[in-house]
């Protein structure tokens, strides 16, 4: 049986001879580079290229490149839009790598904020002392990597004022966080110094409720939701890439919005 894809009028075979060089070029460029790329290969053969180690490595390299592009796109003086307090969602949306019923509240009396790395005054902070710092307020949109969003009202000292207070080296590359729920996270220094990056202790004018990070969590207007660790217990300033919970599982690290 004739193939239904066979052209009705066959091309003159002489064309092949006259254009051998070009056809070879076409085969090389058009087919190898374009046609037989990984996406097409996956569909043609039905094999799962996404689990291939070298493909995964390539995608992560692209992600690292995109982190650099995002850092270049980040404008340290551009403020995210803010909203009236009447639009604040109460309570905020809970989201974590586990269910809200699994939240383990932090006891404020023995809570400590440990400091390490490129910081001159590494004495730990207790809650009483943290609450003496002047607070900034912001009503901003929380955007999740999944696609949903809500408007939340946060207040607390800016991370910048805190870092300056403890004598952190703000020329360092990263600020890393440890939390009571084993959710390590890290951000770039430029975002750490942004005016809408808070060590939030309050939501809608009230102390943070247990599921939302009491006594202190990070809230940034310029990054996706998963970059905002709750129940912070330690802050480190470092030049060594610290990674993070989702980042180690394949989410992008910079995650700027």
């Amino acid at each position: 049986m004739k193939s239904p894809f066979r052209p009705k009028k066959l091309p003159d075979p002489a064309i092949l001879d006259n254009h051998r060089g070009r056809i070879r070029l076409l085969e090389r460029r058009g087919l190898i580079q374009g046609g037989l790329s990984l996406g097409a290969l996956a569909m043609l053969t039905g094999c799962d290229v996404t689990s291939d180690a070298s493909v995964d490595k390539g995608l992560r390299l692209m992600s690292a490149w995109n982190d650099r592009v995002q850092a270049a796109l980040f404008d340290p003086s551009h403020l995210a839009p803010t909203y009236p307090a009447s639009m604040i969602l109460k309570p905020p949306k809970f989201n974590a790598y586990y269910d809200i019923t699994k939240v383990k509240p932090v006891d404020a009396t023995d809570w400590k904020l440990e400091l390490s790395g490129l910081i001159s005054d590494k004495r730990p902070w207790n809650l009483e002392r943290l609450l003496t710092l002047p607070r900034s307020e912001m009503v901003i949109k929380h955007i999740c990597v999944e696609g949903w969003d809500y408007i939340g009202g946060w207040s607390g000292p800016t991370l910048r004022s805190f870092l300056e207070r403890v004598g952190a080296d703000v020329r360092a590359k990263y600020v890393a966080f440890k939390t009571a729920d084993d959710y390590p996270s890290s951000i770039d220094m430029a975002t750490a110094l942004h005016p809408q990056t808070l060590l939030a202790t309050q939501y809608a004018g009230e102390p943070l409720a247990d599921p939302f990070g009491f006594p202190v969590r990070l809230r940034m207007s310029t990054k996706l939701g998963y970059k905002n660790p709750k129940w912070i217990t330690a802050i480190e300033v470092t030049n060594r890439y610290p990674g993070g919970y989702w980042e180690n599982l394949g989410e992008g690290w910079f995650a700027g919005i």
């Binding site: 239904p4 046609g35 799962d48």
Partner: protein
């Protein structure tokens, strides 16, 4: 001195860019479906796992953010090439409203003639223009969904983050719709598929209008 041969319908750069675009589009669509499934726009509309590129949302995002470079740079090269050589104008313009109505009427009567590959009918021209604009729009709305704070004023102009997300989704629907028609027709008239591989017939030299 030898006289230059008449141009092909699809010169080599067009064919190379076409197939790179085909792969990039499929990567973007299938990885996009993986991202979409995490938080759907239309209740009840999910894409099954064998239609998605990436085993869960994070790898789908990695594919999407890698594929976007190929799509955008190849698309840019195509537009620059099309404008500089005059190809876009020659292939897609002009479109006359009466020709459009005529072609639609013929198509509805199953009179699909495509004897001369080098002439695009009015519906073809319109579809190509729409899909090129959809591609440009996808790059723009994609950038806005990626960076809604950095480009907050443009996002506000387009109705906010969720509105831009929906616009990005609609752009995908337009492109997928085009893709179905485009692939179906190229299989019905296989010479067109062959032309996009081999270059197709040689064009008559452009005649000077009297």
């Amino acid at each position: 001195m030898t006289k230059a041969k008449p141009r092909r319908l699809h010169p080599l750069p067009v064919r190379v860019m076409h197939w790179i675009n085909a792969v990039a589009m499929i990567v973007m669509i299938m990885s996009g479906w993986g991202i979409y499934d995490d938080y759907v726009i239309i209740h009840g509309l999910h894409f099954s796992s064998n239609l998605r590129l990436g085993s869960w949302a994070a790898p789908s995002l990695l594919w999407h953010f890698a594929g976007m470079w190929v799509l955008a740079l190849n698309g840019l090269a195509y537009l620059v090439y099309g404008v500089v050589t005059g190809r876009l104008r020659e292939r897609m313009l002009p479109i006359h409203a009466d020709a459009l109505v005529q072609t639609v009427r013929e198509t509805l009567h199953f009179k699909i003639s495509h004897d001369d590959l080098t002439v695009y009918n009015a519906v073809q021209k319109l579809l190509y223009i729409v899909v090129i604009l959809a591609g440009v729009s996808q790059v723009a709305t994609g950038l806005l969904v990626w960076k809604p704070v950095q480009f907050s004023s443009v996002v506000a102009l387009l109705g906010g983050f969720q509105a831009v997300r929906i616009e990005h989704f609609i752009g995908m629907c337009v492109i997928v719709g085009f893709l179905i028609v485009h692939v179906a027709l190229s299989l019905l008239v296989p010479q067109t598929l062959w032309a996009m591989l081999s270059g197709g017939p040689r064009l008559q030299p452009r005649e000077e209008s009297p």
